[in-house]
Amino acid sequence: MAAPLSLLLVVAVTIRAALNRSSLAELIAERVEVVSPITAWKRVIEGLALLDLGVSPYSGDVFHETPLIIYLFHFLVDYAEITFMLADVITAVALYVAVKDFNKQVFRKQKFSLEAERYPADCLELIRSPAEMFYIPLKVAMFYLLNPFTILSCVAKSTCGLNNAVLSLFVLTTIKGNVLLSAIFLCLATYQSIYPLTLCAPAMLYLMQHQYVPVNPRRAAFWWFVVQYLFMYLGSLFVTVCLSFFLLGSWDFLPSVYGFILSVPDLTPNIGLFWYFFAEMFEHFRLFFLCVFQINVFFYTVPLCIKLKDQPVFLMFMQLAVISIFKSYPTVGDTALYLAFLPVWTHLHRFLRNIFLVSCVLLACSALFPVLWHLWIYAGSANSNFYYAITLLFNVAQILLVSDYFYAFLRREHHLTAGLYLKKKDGSEATLVLK
């Protein structure tokens, strides 16, 4: 499998290099769908220029990335394109290895259940075979590298690519079972944008199952593991924050980075729901709705954990999707990360209900974003409502996609316990509903 993967990497790097050389690179770097006030490369350069002028990059309101990024690019600014292509390659390879490992575990678990005869007789069609699972890791890497969203994000040099790399390394180390590295990578991801904090729970659930610690709040071993993981996670977060303090010598970066993500002062249009909502908000209710929207990202964690405690990898996928849709400054790079996981759940295709509609809407919206932006900003013949409408549609499509996969996953789990062909009391074919 190394050969097709390397071929894929070569093709991906070629496409990115070709686009970087062309005149499209500057156009793409300015698009609001691809870069946000946090992730834009122009702002990283501005931060470095302010540092050269002797002014703190956080004294103004133009630079909102973390001090470690300044430190990194202080040395790498001349090799920026290579850095971002390398980040994409690392993400793809990490996802490849992680999914390969995960598939092995799924297949092993399935084999044990088959031998223990836990499945009803008629759902043998739902059992997965190694032949079908063989190409999934390659498809995951391909979905990530050849996704137009990822390519645009890499050519625009959006720091979202670095965040994706750290998140995929976190997924890899979690699936491999390495507790310390998982905590460290999660800490780096949280340090850059606060939202990966919610991935703590699926990581803990997965690692507990990996180490055969019973997932039972009444057992002491459960809490002991939680304390260990949280200690490693919060400890590395503390160390990283203090390191940032020593890099620039002040705590200015805390309100500029984290205060900015949480309080959303900048209303630059993007593909998310926050900008127009807060542009049209009555001042009196601003704080209330800000809290509501931010809590909305975090509060799906506990219910999802309770429902999906036996499938922590699907839980991680759901959490990544929720973060990408509801975060304060989303970009297409965030969408690309959770879309890369879709090949892992190809066996659910027979239970998906809206996939055709959703994919059509996603394609149409992606095409309409630049058109309506041009009409609003350059031609002046449309107004902001047009772009906002497409934003709404895009987010509805993403939500429907994620909930559709969730439905299909839960339905397959139900069939694996209750049987595939269900009959009503009188023997005729039954329909399955959620009640």
């Binding site: 049209e280 999802l304 429902k307 709404l392 009959k423």
Partner: protein, 549 residues
């Protein structure tokens, strides 16, 4: 010995090359006083301004209201430059503990005194320049923490501002040169600027005590076609619809200067003729003036009124090309990004000189200082001093100050890119599609002079040549203001707040609803629901006690 009170008034009339005429009034009150000991007795100095100075511990105050833009290339350099709109800059005493709070109170009080909307000056348009605005009077130290500068480019000047300004004069508008200040003529002009400048000065060389100087200046340019009916003949009556009958009794000197330097071949003639001539070095050039002394009764002649008439016989002659000139414009298209271009022209044939450029850009135009380029004659020209203070959203504007060396006979172009922000819907003005104003850039320079400047402060000089202090003989100080910019920002739809809240909350609810359903419900086999008729029939059957269908 220093005089306790002195009031001087003068009017300078300069015919401009394009046929327009430039009139500059200056009213100067000098008061020897020590503010630290408290004041109880005002004579010539206006009480409202005296109270402002003592209450807010003001060392220097400069405020100007201007309607129109000074066209340097057509009219030459003004005696007292001012940017369009309102401009206020103040040096506070170093005894002030909270400069920002004092500044806020001061702007509100001045807003009341001058009937102007200076209360719009707040932290989002106030800056602290580090080099461009040095004290114009005597100063012990220049700690820039005590300096504040703000402009309101959108401010409109009208009769309501002129009336309180005239009230500050010792003679009011009843005697002396101030009788000429009639608003229906003054505002029917190409350029109108009224200003108040307060600063501490020395009256003589030993300078044991500081005196407070109040200068009220009014500059106006009358257009040849709008006010002059196309005929190149100007008189006091044509310009101001009044003539002069007496000097202000409180004035120690009251003079009219007519600039006759551009009249070597007698292109124009003055009447009534005067034999008083005066020469002065102003703006680096030696100029000759015909003088009318209003304190002498003979000036008014037998009719007891003075109407100075200038009549042209031919229209030849060149204009002296101004040495420093600046322009500014916005480049780019669309509502996302743009570029500010500032052009500075050095018209001196062989000398180069440094200029200080001060740019204050509002926070909603996000400047990218890494895109700042300064080019002269096509080559890169690196500034030797850059002071940049980035903006903070909704709190303070950008401040960019640079020291640029302008090569001789060249154009220097400063470009910087910016991004336009989307504001909250309540932050737009009622006419959002008019655009947002960016205040004028200030270009301050010491320009080399062809004629030796006079550095002696005690010698009797006309007022118009003593405003900017000259420290050396070979150069003089000028300040050039560029045009203000008008920039459009993208606007949200103002009719939509309720709709937007509903629609966005609906999308969030779609997410919440789908996930809630999937999390709280489980799959069950559905038992078919009997139709409505059957259900009603079952209810009736139950009541009858018969088994259901």
């Amino acid at each position: 010995p220093p005089i306790a009170y002195e009031f001087q008034e003068e009017l300078v009339i300069r015919p401009l090359h394009s046929g327009d005429i430039y009139a500059s009034f200056q009213f100067r009150t000098v008061w020897e006083t020590d503010f630290t000991r408290g004041i109880s007795h005002y004579r010539l100095f206006p009480k409202s301004l005296g109270q402002v100075i003592s209450k807010f511990s003001v060392r220097e105050l400069h405020i100007s209201f201007t309607q129109g833009y000074w066209r340097t290339m057509q009219w030459g350099q003004p005696y007292l430059p001012s940017p369009p709109g309102a401009e206020l800059w103040v040096w506070f005493q170093d005894t002030v503990t909270d400069v920002d709070a004092t500044w806020k109170e001061l702007t509100n009080v001045l807003s009341g005194i001058f009937c102007a909307s200076l209360n719009f000056i707040d932290s989002t348009n106030t800056v602290q320049p580090s080099a461009s605005f040095k004290p114009l009077g005597i100063a012990n130290g220049t700690d820039h923490r005590f300096l504040r500068y703000a402009t309101l480019p959108r401010e409109i000047v009208c009769t309501e501002n002129l009336t309180p300004w005239k009230k500050l004069l010792p003679c009011g508008s009843k005697a002396g040169l101030a009788v000429l200040l009639k608003s229906e003529k003054l505002f029917h002009s190409s350029f109108h600027s009224q200003a108040v400048h307060i600063r501490p000065v020395c009256q003589d060389e030993p300078c044991k005590t500081a005196s407070l100087e109040l200068r009220q200046t009014l500059n106006v340019v009358f257009d040849l076609h709008a006010s002059g009916q196309g005929k190149r003949e100007w008189s006091l009556f044509k310009m101001f619809s009044r003539t002069l009958t007496e000097a202000c009794p409180l004035a120690s000197s009251s003079k009219i200067y007519i600039d006759v330097t551009d009249n070597p071949q007698d292109q124009f003639e003055l009447s009534p003729a005067t034999h008083l001539l005066s020469q002065a070095v102003v703006l680096g050039d030696r100029r000759t003036f015909s003088v009318y002394d209003l304190t002498q009764q003979v000036t008014f002649g037998t009719v007891r009124s003075l109407n100075v008439l200038i009549r042209w016989k031919s229209t030849e002659g060149d204009m002296l090309r101004p040495l420093l000139h600046a322009e500014r414009y916005v480049a780019g298209y669309g509502l996302q990004t743009g570029e500010i271009h500032t052009l500075m022209y050095n018209n001196h044939p062989f000398r180069s000189f440094p200029v200080l450029l001060l740019d204050s850009v509002p926070w909603y135009l996000r400047l990218y200082v890494h895109t700042l380029t300064v080019t002269s004659k096509g080559k890169d020209n690196k500034p030797s001093y850059i002071h940049y203070q980035p903006s903070k959203d909704r709190m303070r504007p950008h401040l960019l100050e640079m020291l640029v060396q302008l090569p001789p006979h060249s154009v220097t172009e400063v470009t910087v890119q910016f991004e336009r922000a989307l504001l909250k819907w309540t932050e737009y003005t009622p006419d959002p599609n008019h655009g947002f104003y960016v205040g004028s850039s200030v270009v301050s320079a010491l320009v080399p002079s062809t004629v030796a400047m006079n550095t002696n402060i005690t010698k009797e000089q006309p007022l118009f040549s003593t405003f900017f202090p000259t420290k050396e003989e070979s150069s003089y100080f000028i300040r050039v203001y560029t045009e203000p910019l008008l920039v459009n920002l993208p606007t949200p739809d103002f009719s939509m707040p309720y709709n937007v809240i509903c629609l966005t909350c609906t999308v969030v609810a779609v997410g919440y609803g789908s996930l809630y359903n999937l999390l709280t419900r489980s799959f069950q086999v559905e038992e078919p629901n009997p139709g409505l008729a059957k259900r009603i029939a079952n209810v009736i059957r139950k009541m009858r006690g018969v088994p259901p269908l």
